[in-house]
């Protein structure tokens, strides 16, 4: 997709030469930082982590893009909430161009219909759907807890029991990790685990996110999987499946009806302009293209979502157009794990793995205490 964007950009602007510097490691933040430390000079960086953007900003490596924003009129492409997401200390640094829904639960359409299921809206309905898969001899909800994917489950539970306000308070450590809202979220998860609606702990800890998704749409050994909407691209490219016909998704169910119904957890990618780059005007020109209707259209053609509101809904496939509608209609919050400093994020992941191993009341308390202990150290 990036290559397609660059190719078209080059056709439109032959005077600009685009050169990619590949970051091949799984931990992009570390590699980018190491490269910058090593004196690598680039004009643009794409990032997926607001906390990382802040780190680069604090180190004086970024330039604000407010002037270019005004000059190119990027307000037409991105609404206020995305602009806010790219803002650090009152100035805009990030131009978001990719967006993923992290509250979607994926399922295989044929199996879903064969079991006579309908999309669950409430917690009880969700549990009934999961039980139906269990009765059919399948793993009800697959989960890849090897590295990070288990944190999405917790985060969506938190969002549904605490609402977006508490969610963000926890992200910024304005409430402690042993707050009642965290306990409530873990208790909900405990309900599902003790009822056997997830695989056994060792299987979850040995499975990565893609393996868990594959169990739903490829091997069909599992019924449901909570995963970011980038899987829409993988399902089409790797498994040649038709979105909406072969597989589909529903939003994580409502738990507390008093809270906003479809608050959506999101992640995405933004462009950052570096202070050391020598071609700042070309960098702005590239961002302008990515945020144009044509640039957004290329992203949509690849099955990905973009926050770019210039892209008409019909340019997306059946699944992604529903996701984009959700972005427009509901409050969105950024994925919690990516808002946390790396060290706290790692502790958060590890402690949740401990919880999956032994989902008891006692573990809930020790897990919350351990994350809070680390949070106090880090903040």
């Amino acid at each position: 997709m990036i290559i397609a964007l660059e190719k078209r950009f080059q056709e439109l602007h032959p005077e600009v030469k685009v050169k990619d510097i590949n970051v091949t490691s799984g931990e992009h933040r570390a590699v980018i930082k190491t490269m910058l430390l090593g004196g690598e000079t680039v004009d643009l960086i794409f990032s997926a982590w607001p906390s990382f953007d802040k780190e680069l900003h604090d180190a004086g490596l970024l330039v604000p893009i407010d002037t270019a924003w005004q000059q190119y009129g990027w307000d037409k492409s991105l609404n206020e909430s995305w602009k806010k997401l790219g803002t650090i200390e009152g100035k805009i640094y990030g131009a978001w161009y990719l967006a993923d829904n992290r509250s979607g639960v994926w399922y295989d359409v044929k199996t879903f219909e064969k079991l006579g299921l309908s999309v669950p809206a409430t917690w009880d309905e969700f549990r009934s759907v999961a039980r139906a898969y269990k009765e059919a001899g399948m793993v009800p909800i697959s989960l890849g807890a090897k590295i990070w994917a288990h944190t999405d489950v917790f985060e969506n539970l938190l969002l549904r029991v605490g609402g977006p306000e508490m969610y963000m308070k926890l992200a910024w450590h304005e409430i402690p990790w042993n707050h009642q809202v965290v306990r409530n979220a873990l208790k909900r998860w405990q309900e599902l685990l003790t009822e056997g609606l997830f695989p056994d702990a060792n299987t979850m800890l040995a499975t990565d996110w893609f393996g868990a998704f594959q169990q739903v749409i490829d091997t069909k050994t599992a019924g449901l999987n909570l995963m970011g909407s980038w899987v829409n691209v993988r399902a089409q490219q790797e498994f040649k499946l038709v979105p909406g016909e072969d597989y589909n998704f529903f939003q994580f169910p409502v738990i507390d009806p008093k809270l906003p119904k479809n608050t959506t957890e999101i992640s995405g990618k933004d462009w950052l302009v570096t202070k050391t780059g020598k071609n700042r005007d070309a960098a702005f020109l590239f961002i302008d293209f990515v945020l144009s209707r044509e640039g957004g259209g290329i992203i949509a053609e690849y099955g990905s979502g973009t926050p770019n509101r210039l892209v008409p809904l019909e340019q997306y496939d059946a699944v992604m157009s529903e996701i984009v509608k959700l972005f427009a209609a509901n409050e969105v919050v950024f994925v919690l794990d990516d808002l946390l400093p790396s060290e706290l994020s790692n502790e958060f992941r590890t402690q949740l793995q401990k919880f999956l191993m032994t989902p008891t009341d006692e573990t809930i308390e020790t897990v919350m205490a351990a994350i809070e202990h680390k949070a106090k150290e880090v903040y």
Binding site: T34, L37, K146, N202, L205, A206, T207, G211, Q353
Partner: protein
């Protein structure tokens, strides 16, 4: 005397290029690392001197202690398994009349490929859904033994150790095989004439004459295990629940994931001290012999 002095300077001149490269690529980074270990620094911010704080904190850090314990188990077991199997295979290959080129090449290739590639291979072996291990167990009619191998925090380290020991077996094998190949054939002939059986020949001729080679293999395998990182990185990422986190991985996460560069540097110095403690007696002993 003048000629001797001149020869000495010529010898130094020959060594000088290597010495310069070694100083730039090894000595300087070690000194710089030592300096950084006394600072709090995230790589982007100004460096803040903290004295011995990083070292003190390390020994209070349960994750470091965990990594230290895992490293101890890791280095000892990978060395024992790798050297034992490598030596046995090396002896068998060295003593047999059959052409073992294919076997030796196959086993040595485990040492030749990168640890990351080995990690990916072993991930395929241990994969819970499509992995080789579970497929073999099911084919043998033992599906109850199939399991998510790397998902068990109590056993994951054992399975990663097996994978790493596999990569080290080829190294020990080639050292043992090389040592056996250099034993004069006449000794074996004499033993056969004296009525020695296979075990006696191995026990009293082969083993004593390859002991030094095995010691060298043990020493080098131990050092290599001590600084291992990439296999763990590619297989488990130190998990689950830090059960496979060894010092090499701990240093990586602290330095290049958390970007606590001073803290990471302090753990490097601890590892360096451990390497020196192990290496110096061996090197001293070897220099006395020579």
């Amino acid at each position: 005397m003048a000629l001797k002095n001149r020869m000495k300077w010529i010898a130094y001149a020959f060594v000088l290029p290597a010495l310069i490269i070694f100083t730039i690529s090894v000595i300087y980074p070690v000194i710089e690392n030592f300096r950084i270990s006394f600072y709090s620094w995230n790589g982007l911010s100004p460096m803040n001197p903290v004295g011995l704080t990083n070292y003190i904190q390390l020994f209070r850090d349960p994750d470091f202690i965990n990594a230290l314990k895992n490293t101890l188990v890791w280095t000892v077991t990978t060395t024992v398994i790798g050297v034992l199997f490598g030596t046995i295979i090396g002896i068998l290959c060295g003593l047999t009349d059959i052409n073992t080129t294919v076997v030796r090449t196959a086993i040595f290739s485990s040492f030749g490929i990168s640890a990351t590639a080995s990690g990916m291979i072993w991930l395929g072996v241990y994969q819970p859904d499509f992995g080789l291990m579970n497929a073999v167990l099911e084919a043998l009619g033992l599906p109850s033994l199939a399991r998510p191998w790397l998902g068990d925090p109590n056993r994951a380290l054992i399975y990663v150790i097996i994978a790493y020991a596999w990569t080290q077996t080829g190294f020990s094998m080639i050292i043992a095989y090389g040592a056996i190949s250099s034993i004069p054939q006449i000794l074996y002939e004499a033993a056969l004439i004296d009525g020695g059986n296979s075990w006696q020949i191995t026990r009293f001729i082969t083993l004593p004459l390859i002991t030094n080679a095995i010691r060298l293999a043990t020493f080098l395998t131990f050092l290599s295990s001590l600084k291992a990182f990439d296999l763990v990185f590619s297989m488990t990422g130190g998990g689950p629940i830090r059960s496979t986190e060894i010092l090499g991985y701990f240093m990586y996460t602290d330095s290049f994931y958390y970007f606590k560069l001073g803290y990471g540097a302090a753990s490097v110095i601890i590892l360096l001290i451990a390497v020196f403690i192990i290496a110096i007696p061996v090197l001293l002993e070897r220099s006395e012999k020579t």
